[in-house]
């Protein structure tokens, strides 16, 4: 399977494209190290003495820490819950499938097709009536439900690759489903669980629709923070860039680690 080396122009074009696509992120990063005056200098400054002043300003901004904390808590808790609920389901479907298993999987995935905006009104009203508006609980539940089908699907496809005989042998030795799952499946499938978790964290960190519509000043995540920040403080570009860099960095790192798994998870394995 020896691959053909790229021609020189081919490689050059690829690098130019990569640079252009990445440029907006790079420019945000550069701007975040400028002072406000440098950020709106015209012509744009390329060479300057980098300062951390904007990061300090962004971090001391009222609420930033709270919103960052919300992002972390909501994405981690919703992911943990999704995995906890999906794990037994995926075990059941992968190792003890019935005639309806396939329909069940397809149905679960099809719930992802419901456009959030179609149920915005009832979800908003349910949250209002139960006092869940602007709480982390509401976002955790919604994010968990949004990601559950994808997590079930990913775990299922990882479990499918695990030899059935191992679990069957454990069953013969008298191990019940709980022990099979905890002592066999958990260690065997840990890479798969990790990548399903990674994908769920990325998706819920970047989730903006529900976060903006269901929260205000208490439970908002960074997505809501940046969206609201833009209106009154739109012209503090350096500070806004610094806040954005902090909001985007963890997911950029996670995402780059999980590229390949992401394809599998997002396309339900239809593209391998």
């Amino acid at each position: 399977m020896r691959e053909q080396r790229a021609s020189l122009p081919g490689a050059v074009i690829a690098w130019v494209v990569a640079f252009l696509m990445f440029f907006p992120i790079l420019w945000m990063l550069v701007t975040s190290f400028k002072t406000e005056a440098q950020a709106i200098a015209n012509p744009p400054l390329i060479i300057f003495r980098p300062v951390l002043e904007s990061f300090a300003a962004a971090l001391s901004q009222s609420g930033y820490i709270l919103f960052a904390e919300n992002s972390i808590i909501v994405s981690l808790v919703s992911t943990a819950l999704a995995i906890a609920i999906a794990f037994p389901a995926a075990y059941s479907m992968a190792f003890q499938p019935g005639r309806r298993t396939q329909d069940m999987l397809v149905w679960m995935l099809s719930t992802k097709m419901l456009p959030p905006v179609g149920v915005l009104v009832p979800i908003y009203i349910i949250c209002r009536d139960t006092g869940l508006l602007d709480t982390r609980t509401a976002l955790v539940i919604v994010d968990m439900l949004m990601n559950l089908p994808i997590v079930v699907w990913m775990l299922f496809s990882f479990f499918r690759d695990i030899p059935k005989d191992i679990l069957e042998a454990a069953h013969m030795d008298g191990a019940g489903p709980r022990r099979q799952m905890i002592y066999l499946l958990l260690p065997l499938a840990s890479p798969g669980i990790a990548s399903a978790a990674l994908l769920a964290i990325i998706l819920s960190w970047n989730e903006a629709f529900w976060s903006i519509n269901l929260t205000a000043s208490h439970a908002g995540t960074l997505a809501a923070y940046i969206a609201r920040y833009s209106a009154p403080e739109g012209l503090f570009w350096a500070k806004l860039s610094a806040a954005s860099v902090l909001a985007v960095a963890p997911i950029l790192i996670f995402g780059s680690l999980a590229q390949r798994r992401l394809v599998r998870g997002l396309t339900a394995g239809a593209v391998k």
């Binding site: 419901l114 860039s241 909001a247």
Partner: protein, 306 residues
Amino acid sequence: MSATATTMTRAGGAADSLSHGRRRVAWLLLSPSVAVLALWAFVPLIMTLVYSFQRYNLLYPERRGFVGFRSYAYLLSESSFWTAIVNTIILVVAVLVASIVLGVLFALLLNQNFKGRAVARLMVIAPFFVLPPVAALIWKNLLFDPLYGLIGWLLKLVGLPAVAWFTHFPMIALIVIVAWEWAPFATLILLTALQSLDPEQLEAARMDGAKSVNRVIYIVLPHLARPIAITIMMESIFLLSIFAEILTTTAGGPGEATTTLTYLIYIRALLDFDIGSASAAGVLAIILANIVAFFLMRAVARNLES
């Protein structure tokens, strides 16, 4: 790994021999997922349907009552609704075309073997991981701003006047932002698909003297047909719901120039508190998404069988 993969059919055959007790346990393990998803899928849906037949404004809750199809009739007679439908279609189709064309191109470029290709690939895919409001604000402020933005400065360098993108070309500006976010997604999927293409087949074609353009047209593109179809369907579901980008850049304006169906529902529901009208529009959005989803789920089901 692949040798031990348990196929659905083999497992399905064994399923009937499972004892009754094990069947019950299997179902018990499955039920939490099924239960919460069923609640999530049906309860709000039914509520949206019910609201859509009511006159219901959160500002005047006492005037609530059944009005049949009046919200729908009113919605369909409004020019705002049709503007929103047209805007939605323009945004979705334009971004789809841009992201697929760029995605194929980027995937072909990144599939070459060159120095630092892993880094280049990451750089192309990175925009997909950027928080939507952040993506929108980078473009709105740092790049598109007519006074201080980089693009204005570049235009001035070549002697062109600065353009107030969000005033004069709001939809184009929005399309650029969303396409920048979603072209990486197409690239990622198509690149994965390309890597499963047998290089020997291409090599054979090259030996036979096929030009590189012809190799792409006759071998690579047919191989990508299915992944492209899947990308189109997945992206359409997400693109129908584009929201944060509009909120942070144009807020649907100027006028209604960038008000999509999603944004219209947001305005009706959370700014006007007109639950009846928002729900009727919500039902129409669900129907629209279902048309796309129908084809997508068929493709996924086919994959499960193979």
